[in-house]
Every structure is written in C-alpha cells, then in structure tokens.
C-alpha cells in the first residue's frame, strides 16, 4: 500500500510526557472535581449529568507545562451527540494521555469506554472515582487485578476530598495503551481486520478507526478521505456494506453490544460485593430517592423544596440582606459619604451628577448592582448549589416530564429552565444537554422570554411583596401561562423532532460544604464581572440621555406605549430603556418608582409582568447569537419585546375591567 503524503501522527518526535492530559468518562462521575483537584482551579461541579458543556483547559498544578483538559461526559466514543464528537475529535489527534474517570459502582460503563480507548491505542490511566460511595454500598473493585487484565494503572480516588490524587499523578507518568480485549462476532472481526489493513500503517489505533468507520461515523469519513487513496476508500465502502448485511440491527449497536458484553464480564470478574442489599448512606436519603420521583408523593416534596428556597432567597436574601445592604450600608454610610467626598473634591457640577446624581455611578449603578441585587443573587447561588449537589434536579425532570411533553420538550429541559432562574445566560449555554435543535430553540426562546433570572426575580418579588398574595399569584399565573402557551405553540410551529427522554438519576448525596462555597464564589465573581460593567454602562447612557434632554424626548415618544397601552407613568420609559441592557436593571428602576409611591397596585403588577417578559439581557443576546446565529437572536428578542407589551397591555385592560385593586 502506498504511504500517504500526509503525516498522521502529530505526536511524532514528542515525548508522551508532554502530551496534554485529557479527562474522559461517563457523565456525573466527578471529572470536574478531579480536574479541580489536579489543577487546583475550580470549574463548576454539580450532581447532575451535563454540568460541563465545553472543554475547559488548565495546567497541572506543580507541573505547569503540562496541560489538563476537562471534557463533557460521554457514554460512548462512537459519537452520537455533540459532546461525544467534541471529545472524540480531541482524542483522534493521537497526542493525548487519557485519564479515564469512572465510578466504581458502575464499573462496566467505564470499562466500556476503556475498551473503546484500547482500540484507539491511546495511552491511558484508569481512575475509579467515588471509591467511598462504592464501599458504602458494599462494592469493592480489585484495582490491581483489573490493572493486570487491562495492562494499565488503575487508581481509586475520592476527588472531592482529595484522596488518591498523589497516586494518580504518579500513575500518569506510566500511562500506556490498554489491551483491546473485546471479542467481536467472528464474521465482524474478519471484516474489521480487512478494513484496518486498508488504513495506512503508521496510523496509531487503526482498529479504532476501522470500528468507527463501520459504525457509520460520517465526520470521520470526511477526515479519512483526505488521507487515503480512492481505491482504499472504495474497498472500505464495500466492506462496510458487507458488514451492514450481517444482521438486522445497526452495526454501531452490534459493535457497542460486543464491547459492552466484554466490559460487563470484566467488571464481574474483578468486583466483589459484600452482603447483598447493604443499604448505603443514611437511610432517610435512600427513602427520599424513591419519594422524590413518585407521581404524587413527589409533589409535596417539591413544594417543600420550593418553599425552603423561597424562604432563603426571597425572605432572607431579598428581605433581610437587602435591607441591611441597601437601607443600612449604602443609604446610611456609603452614599452620604460618597456625596460629601465628591462635593468636596470635584468642582464641576456635571461630574458630580455623573458620580452621585440621580443617575450617578455610585448612587445608581453600584447601589443597584451591589446592594439590591448581589445579596439576592448570592443567596440564590447558594440554594441552587445545594440543589445541584444533592442530585434533586434530575428527579425534578422526571416529575415534570408529562407537562413538558405538551410543550414538545421532555423533562430534561427543566434543567436549563431552573438554571435560568439563576442566570439565563448560563442556562442558554446549558441547552446543549438537549439533543435536537428543535428542543434547544424552544428552551432558548422560553428562557429569553419568560424565565426571570435570580437578580430580576428578587427585585420583582420585592416589588410584589408590597401588594398581596393575590398579586403574586396573578403574576406567577400569567408568566407560567405565557411560558406554556408559547412553548406549546412553538413546538407546533418549529419543525424537527424531540429527542428521547433517557436520564440517569444520580444517587441523592449530602452536599459537601466546601464545594458549594467554591461554586457560589465562582458564580458571584462571574456575576460581578458580567453585570457590574453593564450597570455602569447603562447608568452612563441614562445620564447622557438625561443631560442632553433626550431622555425626556424618549419618554414622550414612549408615552403612547407606556402610558396609553400599559397605563404606567411616562417615567417608566426610562426603566424599560435600561431594561434593554439587563432586565433586572429595568426591574430595579421600576422597583425604585414603586417605593417612591409613583405606581399604584395595578401599575406595579403590570410593570412586573411586562419587565419579566421583556427582552433578554445583552449578555444573553450575545450567547444566543453565538449558539444559533444573529437571525435567531434578533427574532427571539423581537418576539419577546412584542410579547411583553402585548401581555402587559392585555393584563392592564383586564385588571381595569375587573376593577382589581390590591385585594
């Protein structure tokens, strides 16, 4: 066979010691926790599958020239989903050391990946994480025996507590390809060998390539075309067709089936189970596990979870902390001090106004961002972190599955939607855990339209708290109603299909405090970096408009819409204007108006509904643009804008017609 002109192995001439370490493993086995332990840098860790949606890269702590890459969880390396493809492409370059991470409780699933990696001839180390959980369940894996069979180092670890990390780092220098132990059906094996023979000789892991080709991996075929002769391509295609005629099932399934069978046999041979039915962990948790997904017993639990979250975020965060920060710290200390300081130091009137005036950087931007919103965002992140780490969220997906089916979605879509209650921008990125473009688009639309982020939610709750429980219910009813109506409509209008609902439910765990704190800090830092500049920018824009008199003009221009249609005072136009930057900023402006008594009960309610449904914030808009292109982003924004005013106006009319007053 002719040698190809293109060099295959990018690694030639480089020692494996300098290869990047790539963390690979099934979802929710603690790759990100291990990544953090190896690099001493934090990436988001949570107890639900799909936390990592992008590759994150960092340097190995103590050996800074060595790169470590964290990848999204994969079930298989014969890729079917976007994450699997990303991971596979990273590995095919042939210059990586794989740190395969698995969960000792589900050994066969990680061995399945190990066998696939073995065919790809990649140097690897197998790490069995969560060794403590397996031990609690009476499952013991003989790491030495497993290592001997596979021909690689096997290291048990508990990444969240930093156990076993030292041994793991030592083992990484001994990484080597595992033995391809899989026994395929003989006729398949023969075809496999013949395909591999057509591939160039210096290609490492030719069998892995051959398997991927047979399994019908199209992206791979494109890469292959550049590198092998026409004659070889045709021969391979013939073989592939021949293999497909071997049986009724898809070839990818036959291959994966053979690998899984081998993985299971291997797992059974090295696992010892002490006394059957050893109840792991606290008994109450195991009982909750079943209860949480129960068709009707799950609902009171859900209500309790929601109520506790509300107490913590709504009462403690939005009430106590905000009063303390805004009423105490800012109103009493920082702002008077800043005003006094500015007046003494700055001689120019307009600079003074810019800093401490009604649209001042200190008095408006910082007060809103740090005193009104930060405490609430922080408490929400703590609450959400606890929910994530317990593993409750995937169970929530099961509970709402039925309802979400009506919207052309399935239960898994609840994860980005709940995350959207924290931050819609982050949530939009998480829509990648959904399989089909249709689902992703619907969820992105619903997030941008009607899911208020924690910052906004808190301000709105604070606004409505001054009214009555009925006002709160009307607001929630309208928003949920709009979400469902738009979702149901979108699922009919948007072409495409819904993916399968197949979700793994992780065991309920008692959250580790340090992880929640680290995660909350990382998210608060992220919020400050993203939101504060926008608040400053928005305030500057408002200030400039106010100075030049354009604000008055805009308010007058918006009168028909704001006053005529929504029946709000014209000053509300200013709030909606900054709402273009961030909805919570707009909400904060409306809240300030409500506090000053400029809005009556009905107007507060209408304003709250309108700003909830208002445009997504600028950051969210950019993320939508990145994910789906500017056309979709603009369409979503335009739709949200029209919908917000439509619903707001209709509500104003309906309430007036009903003669509703804060009951």
């Amino acid at each position: 066979m002719a040698q190809p002109a293109v060099k295959f192995d990018a690694s030639h001439g480089r020692a494996p010691g300098s290869f990047p370490i790539v963390l690979v493993g099934p979802p929710n086995v603690g790759k990100s926790a291990l990544f953090a332990a190896l690099t001493r840098r934090y990436t988001t860790v949570a107890n639900y599958p799909g936390t990592t949606v992008e590759l994150s890269r960092s340097r190995l702590a103590g050996a800074e020239d060595r790169e470590v890459v964290d990848t999204p969880g994969v079930l298989s390396l014969l890729p079917f989903s976007e994450e699997e493809r990303v991971t596979r492409d990273l590995l095919w370059d042939g210059s990586a050391v794989v740190l395969l991470v698995g969960d000792a409780k589900n050994l066969e699933r990680v061995l399945f990946l190990a066998l696939q990696l073995a065919e790809m001839h990649l140097p690897m180390v197998l790490c069995l994480n969560m060794a403590d959980e397996a031990a609690e369940r009476g499952i013991f894996v003989d790491a030495a025996a497993l290592g001997a069979r596979l021909g690689v180092d096997v290291v048990p670890t508990v990444a969240v507590r930093g156990r076993g990390i030292g041994q793991l780092r030592a083992a990484l220098s001994r990484a080597r390809p595992a033995r391809p132990l899989t026994a395929y059906p003989p006729e398949l094996e023969r075809i496999l060998e013949r395909v591999a023979a057509w591939l160039p000789e210096d290609l490492p892991g030719a069998r892995g390539w051959a398997l991927a080709i047979l399994a019908g991996d199209d992206t791979l075929a494109r890469r292959l075309r550049e590198r092998v002769s026409h004659e070889a391509l045709r021969a391979i295609e013939t073989l592939r067709r021949k293999a497909r005629d071997l049986g009724p099932e898809p070839l990818s399934y036959r291959i994966a089936g053979a690998q899984f069978r081998c993985a299971r046999e291997l797992a059974e041979a090295v696992t010892r189970r002490s006394r059957r039915g050893a109840r792991p962990g606290p008994r109450s948790l195991r009982a909750l596990e079943t209860l949480a997904v129960h068709p009707w017993a799950g609902l009171p639990l859900l209500a309790a979870v929601l109520y506790l979250t509300y107490l913590f975020v709504g009462r403690f965060g939005a009430g106590t902390l905000v009063d303390w920060m805004e009423g105490g710290l800012f109103e009493r200390w920082i702002n008077p001090w800043a005003v006094a300081a500015v007046e003494r130091v700055v001689p120019w009137g307009w600079v003074r106004d810019m800093l401490v005036g009604p649209y001042g950087l200190v008095t408006m931007a910082l007060t809103y961002a740090l005193a009104l919103i930060l405490p609430i965002v922080a408490t929400f992140f703590v609450a959400f972190g606890i929910l994530e780490d317990t593993g409750y969220l995937p169970r929530l997906a099961v509970l709402v599955h039925r309802i979400f089916r009506r919207m052309g979605l399935h239960g898994k879509a609840v994860l980005p939607m709940v995350l959207g209650l924290g931050c819609d921008t982050m949530a939009t990125l998480t829509t990648r855990i959904l399989e089909t473009p249709k689902e992703r688009l619907i969820v992105i639309l619903l997030l941008a339209l009607g899911v208020p982020c924690s910052a906004q939610l808190s301000v709105i709750l604070a606004m409505l708290a001054g009214l009555s429980a009925a006002a709160m219910l009307i607001w929630a009813g309208v928003i949920v109603g709009v979400i469902f109506a738009v979702g149901a409509l979108a699922s009919r209008v948007i072409p495409g299909r819904t993916g399968d609902f197949i979700v793994e439910l992780p065991p309920l765990r008692v959250p580790v405090l340090s992880n929640i704190l680290a995660k909350t800090l990382a998210r608060i830092e992220w919020y400050l970096r993203e939101a504060v500049p926008l608040f400053v920018l928005g305030t500057l824009v408002l200030f400039a408009l106010d100075r030049t008199g354009a604000l008055g003009g805009l308010e007058r221009a918006a009168v028909p819409l704001v006053r005529g249609w929504l029946e709000l005072p014209p000053q509300a136009a200013g709030a909606f204007l900054v709402g273009f930057l961030r909805r919570d900023f707009g909400a904060a402006g409306l809240y300030a108006m409500a506090r000053e008594g400029m809005l009556d009960a009905r107007q507060v309610l209408v304003a709250a509904v309108t700003i909830t449904l208002f445009l997504p914030c600028v950051a969210n808009y950019f993320v939508i643009m990145k994910e789906r292109g500017w056309k979709v982003a603009s369409a979503v924004a335009g739709f949200a804008f029209a919908m917000a005013f439509l619903v707001g106006g209709l509500l104003a009319r309906t309430l007036a017609w009903l003669g509703w007053r804060a009951l």
């Binding site: 099934p26 994969v74 079930l75 298989s76 014969l78 079917f80 989903s81 409780k105 589900n106 066969e108 699933r109 399945f112 369940r137 499952i139 019908g216 009724p248 099932e249 898809p250 990818s252 399934y253 994966a256 089936g257 899984f260 069978r261 299971r264 596990e289 079943t290 997904v293 129960h294 068709p295 995937p394 997906a397 099961v398 509970l399 709402v400 599955h401 039925r402 089916r405 052309g408 399935h410 239960g411 399989e435 249709k438 699922s491 009919r492 209008v493 948007i494 072409p495 495409g496 819904t498 399968d500 609902f501 197949i502 979700v503 793994e504 439910l505 992780p506 065991p507």
Partner: protein
Amino acid sequence: MRRERSASGPCARRLAPEAEARGAIGERCPLCGSSAAPEAAGCRACALARWCGLTMACPRCGYRYPPESSLTRWWRRWRARAARRTVGPADPPEKAGQARGAHPLPRLGLGERARIVSLVPQDPRRLARLVGLGVVPGARVLLRQKHPAVVISVGETLIALDANVAEGIYVRRADSGGEG
C-alpha cells in the same frame, strides 16, 4: 400513550415511533398492508396540494387513500388496547430472533425484576445511549415506577425513560425464563 404529533403540517402524518417499531398496531396500507408511514400524495397539479393532506400514498405500492379520521383512529386504538388487555401480549414478535415470552418493559409490574432480551431496532442514537447506560441484552432490570416516566434500575444505575423508549426494550421475567 400519547401520539406524537408531527409539527410540519397535516401532510406529514406519521405513525407514532413506537407503533412503527412494532408494526403491530397502526395504520396499514389498505392495498398491500405495508405499515410504512404513508406519505402525502402531493397531487402535483393541484394548487392546494401543499396544505391539503386529504390523500395519502403508500410508499411501497403507491396506492392512494384518504387518511384515517381522528375518530376512527381513536376507535381502532381503543379496540386494539382493549384486545391487548384481554388477550395479554398479543403483539407478534418483530424479529425472528425474538424469543418467546419476551414483552415490552412497561408491561412488568412495579418492583418486578427481569432480564433484557433485546432492544428492537430503533434509532441508532437511542441504541447508543441505552448501551452506554448499561441497558443491553442480558442486563437485569428492576422496574421501579411507570409514571410520570418509567424508572428502572440496572445494576447500581437508576434511569428514567420516556414510555415510548421503554416500549422498545423487550424483557423476560426473572422467574419465567431459563436464567435466574
């Protein structure tokens, strides 16, 4: 089970995927009996062809017929369901290799254990995900609940599935097969 509605207009009437997979209940061509999803006939000369959906064509024999009305469909399905309730597993096994005594997973009782016999040919993506989660022939499953989604445990893994996915997983009760 709810029928999945296609979103792309009346012409794109298709069978629910689970019915397609089993080929047992569902619309069949009145002429040749093919259970393949009928296509919109698309009478080319007609200006209304894009919206009408009044005529369907069998992709195998090309025979044209009006689509079933929702009322008759409901009636037929109701009858089929009633028949299944009384007769027990009435669906003929799809594949030649399908062993006797195997039935779809949701037909197990709550808390019953079974061994997976086969996954009927489905979308390769779905198969790959199931295999990756350990839902493979030979694996032991325990059915934990059926609503609002099917929840099973396989080994130490707890998995929630939509009912239509679970319908494609054929199992044999732990006590009725040769294997324990």
